[in-house]
């Protein structure tokens, strides 16, 4: 079976057309949207992309990671550090970034999975690694310690070194998000994907029907970490600054989990829909708090909105939407 066939097999043509239109709209968006609109869209794509990466571990393989900031932070710091110190561009640097994050993922995964840490205990392990990496980076001179690492802001577009304005970063994150979506679809419809779902549902039963549980979990954590590292690289070059306090922050790890949870764990569209909902709500409440001159109103309403979604749509927004519009992608 060729790749295209595997991608589109079993997808209703109506859904394919909608997807095509959606993608076309995203491709021309920078020409239509203003500066503000584009920055919001960039955020949406960023969270959709990392959400997709995190979803592989939690949504597919059922392993709760609350330390994904580790992989994004490592990726960002390594690519930015190589560029800052040696002028090595991010397209090369990303290989080092991905390698380091994959290795970190493999270490965390092996410790957790080999010694059968499950559920919240595994989550605690992921938090611990993220936290002590933060502390290590606080004291590491090469990356600027707690004072941070700054890249020179440069508005001239330079694709080779990923320097330029928002439009450049928009297309890069769009390519990443589309790539992640396609990869996840292929993974889910593969032997490995089915094995992940089986492990998520019951690891012991999966192993009894021949699933090499440890190996499958390791592959999940390494793929997820590698993808997250790319998000970190993109993020570092987009914002031009890195601080251990934010790069490895617990809050950042949590942020990565929100889009797939709100959108629908284990679904392909969940992270995308979740990112739209979350970023949209965030922007609306920011505007409201500015309009009424009450600071903090954003956090309160944002929290309330999440609470309401989780209470009334515990399986996520996407499975409910899909049902309504007859696309019918259920949680696999």
């Amino acid at each position: 079976m060729n790749l295209l066939h595997r991608l589109t097999d079993g997808v209703p043509s109506r859904a394919l057309w909608s997807l095509g239109l959606f993608l076309a709209a995203l491709l021309v968006a920078p020409a239509v949207l203003g500066k503000y609109g584009l920055s919001v869209l960039i955020l949406i794509l960023y969270f959709a992309y990392v959400g997709q990466a995190w979803n592989i571990m939690m949504g597919f393989a059922g392993q709760l990671s609350l330390g994904h900031a580790l992989y994004a932070g490592l990726g960002g710091y390594i690519a930015a550090g190589l560029f800052f110190h040696y002028g090595i561009g991010p397209w090369l640097g990303l290989f080092a970034a991905v390698a380091a994050a994959s290795a970190a993922g493999a270490v965390v995964g092996y410790l957790g999975f080999r010694f059968s840490l499950a559920g919240v205990y595994f989550a605690l392990l992921t938090i611990a690694f993220s936290e002590f990496t933060r502390i290590a980076f606080d004291h590491w001179g090469w990356v600027g310690g707690s004072g941070g690492l700054f890249l020179k802001v440069d508005a001239t577009t330079d694709w080779l070194n990923l320097r330029g304005g928002p439009v450049l970063f928009y297309y890069v994150i769009l390519a990443l998000a589309v790539g992640a979506f396609i990869l996840c679809r292929l993974l889910l419809e593969s032997r490995l994907g089915r094995y992940w779902l089986a492990i998520r549902e019951d690891a012991e039963a999966a192993q009894a029907v021949g699933v090499p549980v440890l190996r499958c979990k390791m592959i999940a954590v390494v793929i997820s970490a590698a993808m997250t590292a790319l998000a970190g690289v993109w993020n570092a070059f987009y914002y031009n600054n890195l601080f251990p306090e934010t790069a490895f922050a617990m809050g950042r790890s949590i942020e990565f989990t929100l889009a797939p949870i709100i959108g629908g764990l284990g679904t392909l569209f969940g992270p995308i829909v979740g990112a739209v909902v979350l970023t949209g709500l965030g922007e609306i409440f920011t505007d409201l708090s500015e309009f009424f001159h009450i600071s903090g109103i954003k956090q309160i309403f944002y929290g309330l909105a999440l609470l309401i979604i989780v209470m009334y749509r515990p399986a996520g927004v996407w499975p409910w939407l899909a049902d309504k519009f007859g696309f019918g992608e259920k949680r696999q």
Partner: protein, 242 residues
């Protein structure tokens, strides 16, 4: 698919000083159906878990067609040709009935399409085909038991370990399952070892019965021999005071 010869040689297992299984030996010839019975807590499921690779025996070894399988990981034991069901059923709850069996079928199939087709065939045989698109968690207990059998069979085992698959089934349903297993065994020569409390099924299926009590084998023989065996009667009915 044909049966394999299972041999247990003096296997034993302790859990923190508690002797769960001690020096149990028996063999199931290729293509035979044997039953493993005994009171609750006798160590039957522990024996199964040692065959299936969940526990490593502290003593002795398990071999399949002369090759040692004990001490290996469960997925490798499955590779070697052992399929098993769980006494407390373990369906992949969120997946459909068909996908549950497909995961098993993937084990010896090159791709998802082939695995789905094989899974559908097996579901047909077990009367679950109409429910193939239902989520496994929506099945009734008897159907979940059938799903356990279907998923284990999908891995194309040479030895099938059935842990109380008749429990909770109505007598007519027991008869249907017995007929299915007997037919399967006749058609494919699959070796079957079952743990069972439903004597109706044991009598109908097993050529030989192994009885364990307090972790030790106390008798082995044909169902009629076992029904008359004094040691077995003592275990089940209590010793007569003299």
């Amino acid at each position: 698919m044909s049966g394999a010869h299972l041999e247990l040689a003096g296997i034993g297992k302790n859990f923190r000083g508690l002797r769960a299984v001690h020096d149990v030996s028996f063999a199931v010839p290729a293509g035979a159906i044997h039953a493993l019975i005994g009171p609750n807590g006798a160590g039957k499921t522990t024996i199964f878990n040692m065959i299936a690779g969940v526990y490593r025996p502290d003593a002795g070894q398990v071999s399949l067609d002369g090759k040692k399988i004990s001490g290996q990981r469960p997925d490798l034991v499955c590779d070697a040709g052992v399929g098993r069901t769980f006494q407390i059923v373990k369906p992949f709850k969120g997946l459909s009935v068909l996908e549950n069996v497909t995961v098993g079928a993937l084990h010896r199939r090159p791709n998802l399409t082939d695995a789905r087709a094989a899974a559908a065939d097996i579901l047909q045989g077990l009367g679950l085909h109409d429910r193939r698109n239902q989520a496994a968690e929506s099945l009734t207990l008897p159907d979940r038991k059938r799903l356990e059998v279907a998923r284990a069979l999908a891995t194309e085992p040479k030895l099938l370990l059935l842990d109380e698959v008749m429990a909770g089934l109505r007598p007519t349903e027991v008869d249907v399952m017995v007929a299915f297993l007997r037919d399967l065994n006749a058609r494919t020569g699959l070796t079957i070892l079952l743990i069972e409390h439903v004597m109706r099924a044991v009598m109908a299926l097993a050529a030989e019965v192994v009885v364990v009590s307090y972790g030790e084998k106390i008798a082995q023989g044909t169902p009629t021999e076992i029904a008359r065996n004094q040691a077995v009667l003592d275990v089940y009915l209590g010793e007569e005071e003299t």
